[in-house]
Every structure is written in structure tokens, then in C-alpha cells.
Symmetry: C2
Subunit: 430 residues, 2 copies
């Protein structure tokens, strides 16, 4: 594993992590970024905001490791102790760092905030440390040697950590041999479970090459498949595996890297000069929100309708009162009228319409919680489907919003084959 022999440990601090109030995603983020350099994390330790505990852990780590990344405890409050702890372990005083102070002044200035005593504490750093720029937040990172170990202190706010890791990874990369760099290919999928994917690969691939490491990261709504090789010589083997996965999972692969469903759909629309609109009942604006979270989405998304109530489905989208009364809001004819109404109202080329029962209440024997009708397409070709996806409310909304986007993606790509989840999530009689 340690192609380059570097011993790396992480020290995480925070009462909110120890108490379980916050789930630590930062150490995963750090590990993933270091993995790009084929630098595995050997060990991580988490303690609360306690000077004595932190000192003991940091001193032990610095004696053992080549690199220690400390995460958390850079904030302005009294329970933010990282600078004090590092100074004590390194045997240097805390002093006001001019570069950190200037960063704080500018940060406060941009926000029309007074630089108060609490903020000013964030400039009190171990004497002789280097600054790691924080492009987002008030707390700069800082780094220094303790014996033979480099200690880098990073902020606990995930967005700030992520922004800072680019610099840290770039700095580390310059010190490592090129052959030790790992080459990671990430494939984004929708509609596959981790165990299904693993089983399909085991069944189909007799001889998976040892040098291509296979990993999965199950998320909602997407699942990532990761192919890692540890040197350039292994890139052809990785490419072969890539092709095997393409043959196996085909149209369930949305794209490479960080591609999200909304981003993929918007790009396909943009390429075709087309626009999309949404008519949402049970997903309540989530599809629109996923689309508009992508920068530049206004090119292809102009309007969305959240028609949560039957009267609104009729007045805004022109759904017939009779269909609502006889077939009910969660029905093929209503969801079709919602899609056609939205197309017309928005003057859009494509529409997604969704009507279902997100729960926990509102289910009935013939339409249990988790039942949903989807319609998608354009004026020339509008299709529908009923699914039954009985999971917790917000997960249901997430998966159904993603399914709607996936349907449009498939239509834009002229994929006629049905996704696996149509069979797995088929509604009774749907």
C-alpha cells in the first residue's frame, strides 16, 4: 500500500464529533485526497476539545509519523485549541502572525464586520509556523515541523478544508516520486446498488487484474465506482477494466469524475439547444433545486412548477378536475397532464412530472406510501411509469427526483433499454 513509505496519521478534534452530534466526513475527504498520491492514512485518532488529551495524542503521533494532519479546533471560540496544542508540543510560544492577522482583517472587511477579540485569537499561532491559505473562511491553516514530522493544521468546516486541501495535496505531490502517484478513475452511476454491482462484476469478470483496485462509494442518489492504479504502466489495464464496466453497466453510467445527474442532463440539453421544465408534486421543488444548484443552469432551465395541491395542479397546469376526482392525484392521467401543462406554460422542449406519496402518511392499500407516477419527454414523445420506492421521506424525494432526471437523460441519449430499477421498483399493477 505505501508505495512511497510515508507514514501519515490524522488527529481530529471536536466535542461535537465525540458526542456524535456531528458525523465526521472530513477525515474521509482527507483520505480520499491523499489516496490520489498513493499516500494511505495509517491511523486516525479523535478526541474532544481538551488540551491535555490533544497534547498527548499529537506528541505521540509526531514521534511516529512523517506527516500528521490535524483537523478542527481553528475557530475563534475558547474550545478551539489546536494552535495552543501545537505550540506546546513543538515547544514554541504562541504569537500574533502578521499574515494571519491580515487575512482576518480582509475577511472581516469584505463582510463589513468588526475584527473582534474572538476573531483576533485566530491570528495567535505557534511561532515559526507557515500559513496555509484559507480561500473561504476566517481561520488560516498552519504547518510546522515537530522533530522529523510535518504537522499541518486544517479547519473543521468541510468547505474550508476542501478548499485548503488543493494546496496541501499540491505541496505533498512535489515531494513524492511520480511513479508512486495513483491514477484514479471515478465513474458515476445511478440505479445500481453496491452489492448488485459487486456481484455482477464477480460473475462477469473471471480475471480482474490485481493492479486495478476496485472501490465503491454508495451515495444517494448516485453510486461511484472507483478504479485505481498505482503507476502509469498500469493505465492500459485500467482502461480494459473501464471497458468491462461499460459493457456490464452501460447506460447506468452517467459520466466520469464528479458528474451529477443534473449536470449531465443540463449539458445534453445545452448541446441540443433545448430547455427542460418540471412539474413536481411529491418531490416538492427538489428536481428544480438540483438543476439550479449547477452553475449556468439558466441556459436550459427557465421554469419549474411545484403543484403540491390538487387545486393548483388544475389552475396552474390545467390538469382536469375530473381526472383528479376520478383517477386521483397519483395517477397516470394526472401526471401526463401535469407534464403537458408544464411544457405549454413554460414553452419548454422537455418536461418531467412527478406525483406520488412520500409519506409517512397518505398511503392507501392500492397506493401505499412510496408509490409514484412519473411522466417525462417532449411534445412528440411523452412516457410514463409507476414505481414503488418505499423508503424514508427525504430519501424517497431524492431518489425519485434523480429517477426523473435519469429518464430525461436516457431520452436525450436515445437509450431505449429500461433501467434496472424499473423492474426492481415496479409498482403492483404499475
Amino acid at each position: 500500500m505505501q508505495a512511497n513509505g510515508l507514514i501519515v496519521q490524522l488527529l481530529l478534534t471536536g466535542n461535537e464529533i465525540m458526542s456524535g452530534d456531528t458525523i465526521d466526513s472530513n477525515s474521509a475527504l482527507i483520505a480520499r485526497r491523499l489516496d490520489e498520491l498513493a499516500v494511505p492514512v495509517l491511523r486516525k485518532v479523535t478526541v474532544g476539545d481538551d488540551v491535555a488529551l490533544l497534547r498527548r495524542e499529537l506528541a505521540a503521533m509526531a514521534a511516529d509519523a512523517d506527516l500528521v494532519i490535524v483537523n478542527g479546533g481553528l475557530g475563534p471560540t475558547v474550545d478551539d485549541l489546536t494552535a495552543e496544542v501545537l505550540a506546546a508540543v513543538a515547544g514554541v510560544p504562541l504569537q500574533e502572525h502578521p499574515q494571519a492577522l491580515e487575512h482576518l482583517r480582509q475577511w472581516c472587511g469584505r463582510r463589513n464586520l468588526q475584527l473582534n477579540a474572538a476573531n483576533r485569537k485566530q491570528a495567535m499561532l505557534p511561532a515559526g509556523c507557515d500559513i496555509v491559505d484559507n480561500p473561504i473562511g476566517s481561520a488560516v491553516g498552519f504547518a510546522m515541523r515537530v522533530g522529523d514530522c510535518r504537522v499541518i493544521c486544517t479547519p473543521g468546516v468541510p468547505g474550508e478544508l476542501a478548499a485548503m486541501l488543493d494546496d496541501i495535496v499540491a505541496e505533498l505531490a512535489t515531494g513524492l516520486p511520480g511513479a508512486g502517484r495513483s491514477h484514479v478513475l471515478r465513474l458515476q452511476t445511478f440505479g445500481l446498488g453496491e452489492s448488485t454491482a459487486q456481484q455482477m462484476i464477480s460473475d462477469a469478470c473471471d480475471s480482474w487484474p490485481d493492479e486495478v483496485e476496485l472501490g465503491f462509494r454508495a451515495g444517494a442518489p448516485q453510486m461511484e465506482i472507483k478504479l485505481t492504479v498505482r503507476g502509469e504502466d498500469d493505465l492500459p489495464a485500467r482502461q480494459q477494466c473501464r471497458e468491462q464496466l461499460q459493457a456490464l453497466f452501460g447506460d447506468h453510467i452517467i459520466g466520469e469524475g464528479d458528474t451529477g445527474l443534473a449536470q449531465a442532463v443540463l449539458q445534453l440539453l445545452r448541446d441540443r439547444g433545448a430547455t427542460l421544465t418540471t412539474a413536481e408534486s411529491c418531490t416538492g421543488g427538489l428536481i428544480a433545486s438540483m438543476l439550479t444548484a449547477v452553475p449556468g443552469s439558466s441556459d436550459a432551465f427557465h421554469a419549474g412548477f411545484v403543484t403540491y395541491d390538487n387545486a393548483i395542479k388544475a389552475s396552474v397546469l390545467g390538469v382536469s378536475e375530473q381526472s383528479l376526482a376520478t383517477a386521483g392525484a397519483v395517477s397516470e392521467e394526472v401526471v401526463l397532464q401535469m407534464a403537458r401543462g408544464a411544457l405549454q406554460r413554460a414553452g419548454a422542449d422537455y418536461a418531467i412530472a412527478v406525483s406520488g406519496i412520500a409519506g409517512p402518511d397518505g398511503g392507501s392499500p392500492d397506493k401505499p406510501v412510496g408509490t409514484v407516477w412519473l411522466a417525462w419527454g417532449n411534445a412528440a414523445r411523452m412516457r410514463t411509469r409507476c414505481l414503488h420506492w418505499p423508503v424514508e421521506r427525504t430519501l424517497f424525494q431524492t431518489m425519485i427526483a434523480a429517477a426523473g432526471l435519469d429518464m430525461i437523460r436516457r431520452q436525450l441519449l436515445d437509450i431505449e433499454e429500461e433501467p434496472r430499477y424499473f423492474a426492481q421498483r415496479a409498482a403492483r399493477g404499475g
Copy 2:
């Protein structure tokens, strides 16, 4: 902190956690359950599936702690090492445990599976250990003393761990004095930063009682303030602190427990028999999505409009073409017309309208990225405000959506005082 003096440590094992492919939520689950007993977790260590590393950590922990909970490594595969490691540290052999074997037989039987060698490995446990039942999965938990320390080994599958924790917590509770139970009060706030809140408390409260632990959890959009006491005798002191915080932060406190802004607004609307609609440009459906994520939101939210494009603002909400052309989409007159148009279209009592520049592109010298106009109110009283909140796109959308909900909350509560963020986030000329 440790009212009952128990020292508890966690040892987590798993290559998938070390690599960052899986985010560890198990340790948070364990910590939260132990917190019910006022038993804080002092320290947690995570390492990969490596016998030597695991032995070293477990031996060190067992020497220091009263209780060690090990999580992960109970499965059937070769990299599941926990039983082997505990046996080595305790100095006992592994042997087939009849109760574990019987559990496996029944588990396989219910699934029509053959009990294979891989499964059978899960019955090989340290000699003399106790079994902890696993009501869900194939791997039983097990526990034994190592010196003065009790070591409990639990499965890494979150659902199995959760099921097993009921028994573990019940067992621990019988050994603890009732007075040691902790009492946690959580306050949800919007519009306060962690450092501002800390500073305000430091400035205002000369004598904060030692027995009331104060904690902050900064999230987006809300910040939680947590007051913890370790026994019933300290409840009056906690109540005094609660009142001090109320006096300090007043209307920035949304509610107690897990109350979210959307939930609070929906409850206020429900109490008044009123409905709310949304007209969103730069937040792109996020306000509607936040509202409809709450079960039962259909009581008070019937319709939302995502009018991302100028033509749609005109055709759907009746915004005048002239206002759009002269004042621009991000202007007071347009956002007012959006709110009034949505009120009318939806037949709702209250409306929130938002139009701004989420970025990263689209800014101009007089309307830089982060500029946003908000309108909120009812037909009788509609108010507007321009803010400048220059943060990353999705964080901007989150904070502005929350600000819109907060404005309606304040109006429904007849709060006339302006929130602190109006001054902090004031736009030039806004």
C-alpha cells in the same frame, strides 16, 4: 464531564473507513447512545484491517479504559480480524462458540442458505467470551474482560449495530447511578455565527455556571446551541442559562430540539390556518424543497413557482416586461411583483419571493455576485430587502432560502426588530 467516572474509548476498524470510501457514522451512533447515560466517549481510534495495528491499539486502550467498544471486523471474510485480535490481547485461544454457531445455523436456515466455511468462521470467538445477540445479521457481538476493562465487539453494518446497542445500553445503564444521566437542551438559531454567539455570551455573562456545559454546532443554515447538565439537580441552573440566552439572542432562536426553519414556519402557518407560496429565481426551488421535506407540509404549502427566466417571471407571475427591462430582474420592483403574482396565482395568504445573483457568473459592478432582493409578507403587508451574501453558489442558495423562511417566521410572530444579518449582510444602497 464524566459524572460517573467511566472511561470509554472506541476502536474502529475497516480499510473502507481509512480510505474515505465509507464515512463512519457508527461512532456517532455509539456516542449518542452513550450520551443518554452521561457516559462520554473520551477517545476514538480508527485503523485499517491489520492485525498488528489492531493488537497494539486494543492493548493500549484496555490498559487505560474501563470500557472499550470495538466496531467492525466481525464479518465472514479474511480481513475481518476482531475476534483474532481480542483473543490475542486477552491471551486466550479462539474456539467455536456453540451459541454463535446456533445463531448462524438459524440465520442461514431462514434464508435457505448453506452454512459455509466463511460463515462458520464467525462462530470462532475468544474462549470465555459472552455473546451479544444480533437480531438482524449473521455476526453475533461478543464481550469479555481484559484486565480491568470490559471490551465489547460490535458489527460494522450500521443497522446491526443500532439493533445491538439497545442491549448494550440497557446493560450499561444497570451499572450506573441514575443521577449520572445527562440532560441536554438544544436551541436552534438562524442568523448567528459561532464566533458572534460566543463573543456575545462572554460579554454578557460574567458568571456562567460550571455545571452547565455550553456547546455550539455550526451548520448551514442553522446553528445549534447546546446546554448540557449531568444531573437533575442542575436543571434549575440550565434553565437560568436558557433564559440568559433567550435575552441575548431572542428572536434568532427558532426553537428547541431539532426544529428547522421550514418546520417552524409550517407550524406557525398551521396554527393560523394560513398558507404560503414561493416565487423563486436564484434559489431555484430550494425554499419549496425545504418546506416539502417536512411531513405534512401540504397543510400549509400548496404551490411554488420557480421563475428562473425573465419571460417566465412575466408569463407565469405577471411581472411587468417594463420593470424587467428597466429595473432588471434583481430589483425591488420585480421581486415585489413576483411575490404579489405568486400570492394571486396560488391563492395563498403569504408569499416569499427571491431574485438574486448566485454566481459564479452574472455579477456586475453595481449588482455583484451575492446580491439578492427578497420580498415577503401578505397582501396587507409586503416588505422587501436587499442583501449581499457573497459565498459559494449552493451555500448562497441555502442561506438565502433560509433567510426567506426566517422573514416569514418573524412576520407570523409579529417580530418588528430586524435580525442581525440585515446589518451584517446589507447590500450597498440596499
